[in-house]
Amino acid sequence: MATLPFTSRETGCSFFDRTPETCFVPEDFAGDEQLMVQQAEQFSRKEVLPLAERLDKQEDGLMPDLIRKAGVLGFCGVDTSDAYGGLGLGKNLAARILEYLSLNGSFSVTYGVTSGISQLGLSLFGTEAQKAQYLPHLASGEWIGAYALSEPNSGSDALSMSCRADERDGKWVLNGTKMWISNAKWAETFLVMAKIGGSEVSAFLVERGMPGVSVAREEHKMGLKGSSTARLVLEDAEVPLENLLHEPGKGHQVAFNALNIGRFKLAAMSLGPARDAIWESTQYAKDRKQFGQPISDFGLVRQKFADMAALYFAVESALYRVGANIDEAFAEWGGTVEGNRRAAEEFAVECSALKVLATEAEARIVDEALQVYGGYGFTEEFPIARTYRDARVSRIYEGTNEINRVFLADRLWRRAQEGRAQLGGPGDSFVSELAHKAFAKFSKDQVVVGGLSDLVLLTYAEQSARLRAQRLGGLAQMAYERFVNWANVQAAFAYQTVTGDPVTLPTPNPGHIDPLATALLTHRSPL
């Protein structure tokens, strides 16, 4: 995995109290790690994107074939242990690869689930025998995996699930319906949460072929049409006793820790299409002529490019900083079930912050990118319409952005009560200063918690982008300054929501529209 000449010494939520001297930035990925990322991008462009329309029609066998192809190249088990058929690389590199394999949404979610949360619970909590039985099939891409937590009446309130498991005749017998199961159509294995005796949430490894397991019809979705989403129906499903994962009654640890890392990975899955949408829209703008010149010459179009790049830059900075910290936590504590749990939990607040940041950045970027295409953006003539549809669900799954907002400020506050985070410091930027001041008004009111969460995630993004800009200078500094202008306004609004007090905004930085737009129009990479 990418190692730095230093360790960040960051712990969960430590960012809130102090800015580290430096942190991991995407430019720190080593030469051969970038070669892996390059392979991922080529795979997306040559193997996946040309099939987008056929994938959306769910042509038989097309998606599983692509997953198998990706598996042959080693993509399906990047951060799975090499003892079980994976490559044993870091989660940060796995996320970077995922970002570049996510240029098509349907492939992205299929791949993301089978390489991510379908294996993660097993990797973190499985016994040797369980890991040896299932991980090699999933890490090779030969099998597709799925994760089953939600139910028709239990979404955000996941622990209110009604699916139950009972021990009968030397087997677990599962009954219930799991909803919104990504990969349901193709999956050989499902990581299923059910309540033993109707009360103790537990995790089970369920195979498609076990008696009583079936998959209902495909949901008719607004986007991600090429991905499979259906209900998993368990009717007296018979599961061997040894397929209980982790301890009875501790399924929530499996589910939620898989989700912590899943949220971090989803951030990468959201940035991938956003990054590509920026590039595609610049290319369109260069070709499209109005009033005798390319529309890429016009101020309002160039402003969009500068804004999209600044936002991408900031969230990208935050994403790979968290990833490096997660890798460090696993290096320090991982290996035992208890250590894995601790490592997966440590940066839970940051993972939630990233999920919200990245999915909302994606929404804004694909929306603005589509606008560049004018009327053509509203047709199927260009891929941006599909990208736009596919992006919508990002703010909904892996915990809605609302439930993540409720979670993250509350979690930070509770860590502070336990003495594991510091609130009320001076802050070292306008955003972080407001964030600290606003916590004096902490309450359980959802609107207050939501506002505080906005301040927390803006603090994280601003700080991460600042650290990266300090290292890179030039265009990165410009992108950072442009992002700060936006973040300050957002933070002021959130502060006012929480406190009701007036705020005076600092003097804005220069807009840097022209150099940023020019760079984007020339180079494939946002900066």
């Binding site: 070669l35 892996m36 392979q39 190249l73 080693g74 490559l87």
Partner: protein, 245 residues
């Protein structure tokens, strides 16, 4: 059979680069580098020959700065067995590269040197031919198909008159064209394995000096705007005016 594949570190052929303001070279700040695409095709071909016959041993070599290690590692990740880096920051032209490669050939003693017909940075298309001449070996350039035939090799090459097939005795030098093959995706385990494959760094073996030197680099002048004409007669008149007709 031993194959030697020279690979060159070049500016990413898809990057847009500009000359430095003083014309002394290219501004490569922030620009990515990659293996010269023609050389990548040569590596791919050598690896395919190795896959068809496991006794084939593939050595890749680069003459350049220490940064060329990155390109050698990529070639190793594609499946080459070992790498040699002739580390130098000296100015070079095709003649110097050919001289250095000759020394490496004498050291490695390959049966076949397989290399790109040219590099995408300077487009000289000389090093392969010069190397064959220095060695006194037969050569086949612009290969679009290579087949082993006992102790010979058959090379189909693209010429202006069509394709021609040559039969060469080994050892020989073959340069590759774009149509020869399409390089593979590099599997991630291959990239990991490449980390532990041998890569020998050595100093230059000759004191060859470049016989040509770049005096200045400048961007082509921007195209002037065209002019619209109303009729064919006016067009012909305009062409006559310019002396084009």
């Amino acid at each position: 059979m031993k194959i030697l594949v020279p690979v060159k570190r070049v500016v990413d052929p898809y990057a847009k680069v500009k000359p430095l303001p003083d014309g002394s070279g290219l501004d490569v700040a922030g620009v990515k580098f990659d293996v010269n695409p023609f050389d990548e095709i040569a590596v791919e071909e050598a690896v395919r020959m190795k896959e068809a016959d496991p006794s084939v041993h593939v050595t890749v070599v680069s003459v350049g700065t220490s940064e060329s290690e990155e390109q050698l590692r990529k070639a190793l990740a594609m499946g080459a067995d070992e790498a040699v880096l002739v580390e130098t920051g000296d100015p070079m032209d095709s003649g110097v590269v050919a001289a250095e490669l000759e020394a490496v050939v004498r050291q490695v003693q390959p049966d076949l040197v397989l290399m790109g017909k040219q590099a995408t940075d300077d487009d000289n298309n000389q090093a392969g031919q010069m190397l064959a001449a220095r060695l006194g070996w037969p050569q086949a350039t612009f290969a679009c198909k290579i087949a082993r035939a006992g102790d010979h090799i058959e090379v189909t090459r693209e010429t202006d008159a069509g394709e021609e097939t040559l039969r060469l005795a080994l050892p020989c030098v073959v340069t590759t064209d774009l149509r020869l093959n399409e390089p593979r995706y590099i599997a991630l385990p291959g990239i990991i394995k490449a980390r532990s494959k041998p890569l020998a760094k050595q100093a230059r073996a000759t004191d060859a000096r470049p016989k040509s030197r770049v005096t200045t680099m400048a961007a082509p002048p921007p195209r002037a705007a065209g002019r619209k004409v109303a009729s064919v007669d006016e067009l012909i008149g305009a062409l006559r005016e310019r002396g084009s007709l």
